[in-house]
């Protein structure tokens, strides 16, 4: 048996042995899910300032917003989140505040690993929560990046897309790729095979590689029949230790980019928007108080933004812990009162039709995850 035949066979037998999946509920149509990884730690108190909290203004003198968009008497939105605010007005976006993965040690790299891995602690898994969910549901996913991020690992049916720009090269020959694939083993063989599949697919290669263009393309891909059901995009540079700005400035610029990414997803998804959920994920929030250099340091809880046609009623979902000194985690950070894993689990439940208990055990590797589905999707 050649290696290629072997790969084909294992793919097929996996498909047969794993279907039907236990816990699959068919009363709702399957949706699609997109995760925007906000790298560096989004400042939840800047993105969604709790304007009704009496402690906010004094904590954030230099970086407080002068003109937040009012969501309700207690919460505002950063003025750069224009499109998101319109989605909220239409009942197609929600906010989860004072939320985090249960991780309090303020390291980017442990935090980033944990929010993608979703196991019991940082660096405890080599697969990611979305990858494991897709593996259970037997549905495909795609990352819009050069590497396959941890969050999508764990399924045979995931790949990545980030069009090459190598002068003096052309689209690789399918036959040559096959020969090279056969010479390789394990994950390299699988990845070379993915190159071959992409070449055969006539995938477009002239897409600009900024997050906005990639989000639009991802939306288009997810809206086509047989396309990926999940996508992952990264937006960098939220780590604003110094001079983060307020209405304008570096943190606001990142929020503006995030807003444009959400908007581009919507454009790309077209009619599929009605079956979509987009959620943000960040490794931690930032200190409640501004530091000595006009920025904020690594903190604990942040905010999660959810958008998509699968949301019926816009809400701010929060059990607000307060910003008074005594209410802060270690007297410095916003406390997390909602486990963001539960929010991710609810999105998976809605989109992939998997049962909550199954998601808890097989996706987040714990039996204790609370179900937040009704807060988000009812």
């Amino acid at each position: 048996m050649t290696r290629r035949e072997f790969l084909k066979l294992t793919g097929a037998s996996l498909f047969l042995s794993a279907a039907p999946v236990s816990g699959f509920t068919k009363d709702l149509p399957q949706g699609n899910i997109s995760v925007i990884l906000l790298q560096g730690g989004m400042d939840g108190l800047t993105a969604v300032p709790p304007i009704g909290d009496p402690a906010l203004a004094s904590l954030r003198q230099e970086i407080g917003l002068s003109n937040p968009i009012k969501v309700n008497p207690f919460f505002g939105l950063h003025p750069k989140l224009q499109h998101f605010s319109k989605l909220m007005a239409r009942g197609e976006a929600s906010i989860v505040h004072a939320t985090s993965f249960p991780y309090t040690k303020r390291s980017h790299f442990e935090g980033q690993n944990y929010m993608q891995g979703g196991g019991s602690s940082p660096f405890s898994t080599t697969t990611g929560w979305l990858g494991r969910a897709l593996d259970l549901a037997l549905l495909p996913g795609r990352a819009l990046s050069l590497e396959l991020p941890l969050i999508l690992r764990g399924s045979l049916n995931v790949d990545n897309f980030y069009p090459a720009r190598v002068n003096g090269s052309s689209k690789p020959e399918k036959w040559l790729i096959e020969q090279i694939t056969m010479a390789h083993q394990a994950e390299e063989a699988k990845a070379f095979q993915a190159v071959g599949d992409k070449v055969a697919d006539q995938a477009r290669s002239n897409i600009p590689r900024d997050p906005v263009s990639l989000a639009k393309y991802a939306g288009e891909q997810m809206s086509t029949k047989g396309g990926p059901v999940a996508s992952v995009i990264r937006v960098n540079q939220f780590d604003t230790h110094a001079l983060q700005g307020a209405d304008e400035g570096s943190h606001g610029d990142r929020l503006e980019l995030l807003d444009e990414v959400i908007k581009a997803y919507r454009e790309g998804l077209g009619d599929a928007w009605d079956q979509s959920i987009i959620l943000t994920l960040t490794e931690f929030g930032r200190t409640a108080s501004v530091n000595g250099t006009g920025g904020t340091d690594h903190g604990y809880a942040s905010v999660g933004l959810l958008a998509g046609g699968l949301i019926d009623n816009s809400r701010v979902i929060s059990e607000w812990p307060g910003l008074a000194d005594a209410d802060l985690y270690e007297e410095r950070d916003l406390y997390a009162t909602i486990d963001y894993r539960s929010v991710c689990a609810a999105c998976i439940e809605r989109v992939l039709g998997l049962d909550h208990d199954l998601i808890s055990q097989k996706v987040f590797l714990t039996s204790k995850l609370k179900r937040t589905y009704d807060y988000i999707f009812s």
């Binding site: 390291s107 590497e147 720009r165 002068n167 003096g168 390299e188 250099t293």
Partner: protein, 484 residues
């Protein structure tokens, strides 16, 4: 692969056509650590066999770089604010300013040349390992400093103690700028007290560098340090660093850029970091880096990283223990530590996956290809299909001059395996074949390297020299995923 090539692939950059293949590879590798390091390369691709020293003009000192950065910003600002200029005139003037004052593009090309033409290939590999361990990405003025950092903080200190390198790295303006320490002011410093009194300025502590000094550069989270350790580290660091493109020398007249400790910004009093008392004053940082350098968790953390980068993808604890033992016995002598790494890399028959950038250098060296432009070419419009060094490294996924995270590039093989990453290998192989005029045929290379039968079968089963070239470079053997 022959034993010489197998070892050179793991810890070096493989042999160029003019290199003699060493008989005793271990002896060669150890000797490499003492080889003199020179900035060599080519002036022009039209005279690609003339390998020579880079001109002195392109090797500016730190203070020359500071002045270039100052000029770069000054003229940038002046040109952009000039309302009388047309768009075309403005772009032209900005371009001239970049050519004259932005050293970054030359630094990046010089980095590529060093690796492609290096006679000190093993040193270059260790140098890149440490440059990545102590990542400095682009942030503000660091674009003009990264090249200097790699040469003067890393390569020049490769044969000293780890403690010395750590101190040099921590106090280099590139690092102090990249991780925001230049903004950090002790909360009880003279400056902060004055600010509070006048109510005119707001200053305070920034813990970015302090945190990464513990987490990434030394003890790692395994040491179970606390938030109070991080804060104390940031307090020791407060006062270190200055914004290099401002004329600080004229203003203060007291310190040079690499020894910039501003005492009125420093935090007074004794700090406690991981149980060690660090006294106030400039020497405090020295005491701290020495303490961290000799910490067992630092040794373990770094021994593991070295093993993963040089010895085997599946890190063995016996290798880690061995390197730790040498570390302790030698008091953190980097030459001894590197020798220990070489010993374990030779002893381990396990394959070692190579980073995309290392692989590219190795491909160019064994095929004798001229892929990167010469230093005299980069500001010319050559009408050539070649990419700039900047674009090459971006496309490979390893832009060392980029806005990037301080944890550096992973040495874990699985990170680098994806469809897109492997498509880059296919495409770069083709681009090198098409544009860089490899002087060796695939057959000549296979004979010289002594490839295994699987590689030979793959290549010989294909028709056409280009296909053979691509397949050879993307073979498991040349990628370092299967034993030679």
């Amino acid at each position: 692969m022959t034993e010489s090539f197998r070892v050179a692939q793991k810890i070096g950059l493989l042999f160029r056509p003019e290199d003699d293949i060493p008989r005793d590879i271990k002896d060669w590798a150890m000797g490499q650590l003492s080889t003199e390091s020179k900035s060599i390369g080519i002036k022009s691709i039209s005279n690609s066999h003339q390998i020579e020293h880079w001109p002195e003009d392109y090797l500016p000192s730190l203070s020359e770089r500071a002045e270039m950065l100052r000029q770069l910003r000054l003229y940038e600002d002046r040109i952009q604010k000039d309302k009388t200029l047309s768009k075309i005139e403005m772009d032209r003037l900005l371009w001239i300013n970049e050519k004259k004052n932005n050293i970054r593009f030359l630094d990046e090309l010089r980095f590529a040349h060093r690796n492609v033409y290096a006679e000190d290939q093993v040193k270059q590999r260790f140098s890149l390992f440490w440059s990545n361990h102590f990542t400095v990405g682009i942030s503000g003025t660091t674009r003009g400093l990264i090249g200097h950092f790699m040469d003067a903080a890393i390569l020049d200190n490769l044969n000293g103690s780890f403690s010395n390198m750590l101190y040099k790295v921590t106090t280099h303006p590139a690092m102090l700028t990249y991780l925001d320490n230049i903004y950090s002011v002790g909360e009880n410093s003279e400056r902060a007290i004055q600010c509070r009194k006048n109510n005119k300025c707001k200053v305070g502590l920034n813990d970015n560098l302090g945190r990464e000094l513990l987490e990434l550069h030394t003890v790692s989270p395994a040491a179970n340090y606390t938030e109070s350790d991080i804060r104390a580290t940031a307090q020791v660091l407060a006062g270190w660093g200055t914004i290099v493109d401002k004329p600080q020398l004229e203003k203060f007249g007291l310190f040079n850029h690499w020894d910039a400790f501003v005492s009125n910004r420093a935090e007074p009093g004794t700090k406690l970091v991981l149980g060690k008392a660090i006294y106030a004053g400039k020497d405090g940082l020295h005491n701290l880096t020495e303490h961290l350098a000799s910490h067992e968790h630092t040794q373990r953390h770094l021994a593991r990283k070295l093993c993963q980068h040089f010895v085997s993808d599946d890190v063995q604890s016996v290798d880690i223990e061995y390197i730790m033992k040498i570390w302790q016995q030698s008091g953190g002598d980097l030459r001894k530590i590197h020798q220990a790494v070489i010993e374990r890399a030779i002893a381990s028959k396990a394959p070692k996956f190579q980073w995309p950038a290392i692989w590219l250098f190795q491909v160019l060296r064994i095929s004798d290809s001229t892929y990167f432009l010469g230093w005299g070419d980069i500001h010319k419009d050559l009408n050539d299909r070649r990419m700039s060094a900047k674009k090459v490294f971006q496309e490979l996924g390893q832009p060392f001059w980029a806005k990037r995270q301080p944890n550096g590039y992973s040495s874990s093989k699985s990170y680098w395996i994806s469809g897109e990453f492997l498509e880059r290998r296919l495409r770069f192989s083709e681009a090198i074949y098409n544009t860089a005029h490899p002087q060796f045929t695939p057959k000549e290379m296979m004979d010289r390297i002594g490839v295994n039968s699987a590689t030979r079968n793959l290549v010989e089963g294909l028709s056409g020299r280009k296909r053979k070239f691509i397949a050879l470079m993307c073979s498991p053997e040349l990628m370092g995923v299967q034993g030679g």
